[in-house]
């Protein structure tokens, strides 16, 4: 059995490990356009301020340690599902019996004047991170365009190197997908105290440059912010272009069933290039989360090995991080838009908690500061547990923690 896997990140590696464990006879080929060794993507902000070395963010076990895995440092440019081959940029066709698509997503590069100037970067992979790390030598001011989680993480890391950082966010608040207005305000204030400048309700209109080198950013509001370095962290889009003509159905991203099979038999997909159905909001969205990529990779790996498996219920909003020394965990429906939902909040010093209910079901939550036992409550959200009479006790339990701190 010839297994071919496109992509070399967490979804790909998880699937590969499952296949290796379950099919001793398997021949596995991996195609990835980033060179080995493979690394933990979410840790690249730590390369910028050198708080982690490249070695310290690598997977401890590399898939290529297994001699049954043949690695191609190449890019997949097409899939021919009738002939069962994929086309590579280097020209060679690669035949498969079972194919996994795990090509993730790429940074969006906004189409604004000056975006091609030196000193302007998108930042999602190791290569880009190392370039930015080098560019930081002698850099005094930086602008990060995009104040969502990845943008803020990068901004904090730049700031730790002594660079003066300005963040520009088009929404009225930073961290629009993981925070409500209250939490975002608290975070902005903490970041501000650490010297970060934050402009919300604004976005980049033009990159200013002299002799092709970036000197600043002009915002839609008309403000101009000087900068030696500009990071564009405005979002990602799934890498689906190479699937044109393959017969693999896509909508916002690749469509799969619960077993991670695409519309084409023997072709599976996993990770950030896949569209998921959110168990709580009922919306179809692009995944974008590490844990979801692991679940999808594992499920695809089992089914590709001939062992039936289905994915668990997914949440598209399910985040945990620490920003400016304040931990935040949020999950589910955190921006309730209708009267149908009841919201409970409690604050104590730096700590803040919010619970969102749909009748007796917990559907969303935010814990800021004290994050004790967050997973217990998220489990109720994910599995849509009807709490009945236990609801009031649960609210008391969650909120009373703050008064005893």
């Amino acid at each position: 059995m010839q297994y071919v896997i496109v992509g070399g990140s967490i979804a790909a590696i998880t699937a590969l490990n499952v296949i290796r464990a379950n099919r001793p006879d398997a021949k596995m080929q991996m195609v990835a356009d980033e060179a080995v060794p493979f690394y933990y993507r979410a840790l690249i902000p730590f390369l910028l301020d050198k708080s982690r070395t490249v070695d310290e963010i690598l997977f401890t076990e590399q898939p290529t340690d297994d001699k049954r895995v043949k690695f191609h440092h190449d890019r997949c440019v097409g899939v021919d599902s009738t002939q069962k081959v994929i086309r590579l940029e280097s020209g060679n066709p690669l035949p498969y019996d079972k194919l996994l698509l795990a090509a993730g997503s790429s940074s969006v590069r906004p189409d604004i004047p000056g975006v091609g100037s030196t000193g302007v970067y998108t930042l999602r992979n190791m290569d880009e991170a190392l370039k930015v790390r080098d560019a930081l030598e002698g850099c005094g001011k930086a602008v990060v365009v995009g104040g969502a989680l990845a943008g803020i993480k990068m901004a904090e890391s730049l700031q730790r190197t002594g660079v003066h950082v300005t963040v520009v966010e088009q929404f009225p608040r930073i961290l629009p997908f993981i925070a409500d207005t209250e939490t975002a305000q608290r975070m902005s204030q903490k970041l501000g105290q650490e010297g970060m400048a934050i402009h919300t309700n604004d976005s980049a209109a033009e990159i200013l440059a002299t002799d092709g080198k970036a000197t600043g950013v002009r915002l839609v509001s008309g403000k101009t912010i000087p900068a030696d370095l500009v990071l564009l962290m405005v979002g990602v889009r799934p890498n689906v272009e190479f699937l044109a003509g393959s017969g693999v159905d896509t909508d916002l991203a690749v469509l799969t069933d619960q077993e991670m099979q695409t519309s084409v038999p023997d072709i599976y997909a996993a990770g950030d290039m896949v569209q998921i159905h959110d168990a709580v909001t009922g919306e179809d969205v692009i995944s974008g989360l590490w844990g979801n990529a692991v679940h999808m990779g594992r499920t695809a790996g089992f089914n590709m090995s001939g062992i039936k498996a289905v994915v668990p219920p997914f949440l598209s909003s399910f985040n945990s991080t620490e920003i400016a020394g304040l931990p935040i965990i949020s999950a589910g429906l955190i921006h309730p838009q209708s009267e149908q939902y009841t919201v409970y909040t409690e604050a104590q010093g730096e700590n803040y908690r919010k619970l969102i209910f749909d009748k007796d079901r917990l559907v969303g939550m935010i814990f800021l500061g004290d994050i004790t036992k967050a997973g217990v409550y998220i489990n109720l959200i994910r599995n849509r547990i009807a709490l009945g009479e236990r609801k009031d006790a649960l609210i008391r339990e969650v909120m009373s923690v703050l008064s005893t701190l």
Partner: protein, 163 residues
């Protein structure tokens, strides 16, 4: 595989297990004692929790789940399964993103704010029997071999999703 089995009806809520846990996880060059634990600049965190259950006090402890959500969500390669099958954390790999706390449905991974790392039960790898089990005066905590238990009891002990 031997796991810690909790018999809630035997628990008196004395918290000896919590104290023994802290002592066992004290970072000293000398013998681990209660005195050494409390005289630490940063006293060790407990890794199990005596809580009010439905019928009374009960110790809540990591189950070293077969499909451990904390391993799934760990974005830094810090949480892993050791050769004995226990779910552990590599200190130096932890970045303090708290994804494991977000993931754990039992609420038994905690934040060490000073050290900026997540802390969880490691099943005391250097001891024959975990400290909490040895210390429990009422045998509410016992070490049992899961493989010798019937299937239903196994499922209760280990969070096992159908694959």
């Amino acid at each position: 595989m031997e796991v810690i089995y909790v018999q809630a009806d035997r628990c008196l809520g004395c918290k000896t297990c919590e104290i023994e846990c802290r002592i066992a996880h004290t970072d000293t060059d000398t013998e681990n004692t209660l005195f050494a634990a409390v005289s630490q600049l940063r006293p060790p965190k407990r890794r199990l929790f005596v809580e009010q259950g439905e019928k009374g006090k009960t110790p809540v402890i990591c189950r070293h789940c077969e499909e451990a959500p904390c391993i799934v969500e760990c974005i830094s390669g810090s949480i892993y399964r050791d050769e004995q099958g226990f779910v552990r954390r590599k200190k130096e790999r932890c970045i303090g993103c708290w994804s494991c706390i977000m993931a754990c449905p039992f609420g038994v991974v905690v934040r060490d704010a000073e050290a900026h790392i997540a802390v969880k039960c490691d099943h005391c790898p250097d001891l024959d029997t975990p400290a909490c089990v040895t210390g429990c005066p009422t045998k509410a905590l016992q070490l049992v071999d899961v493989d010798s238990l019937p299937q239903e009891r196994r499922k209760e002990l280990l969070l096992k999703k159908e694959v």
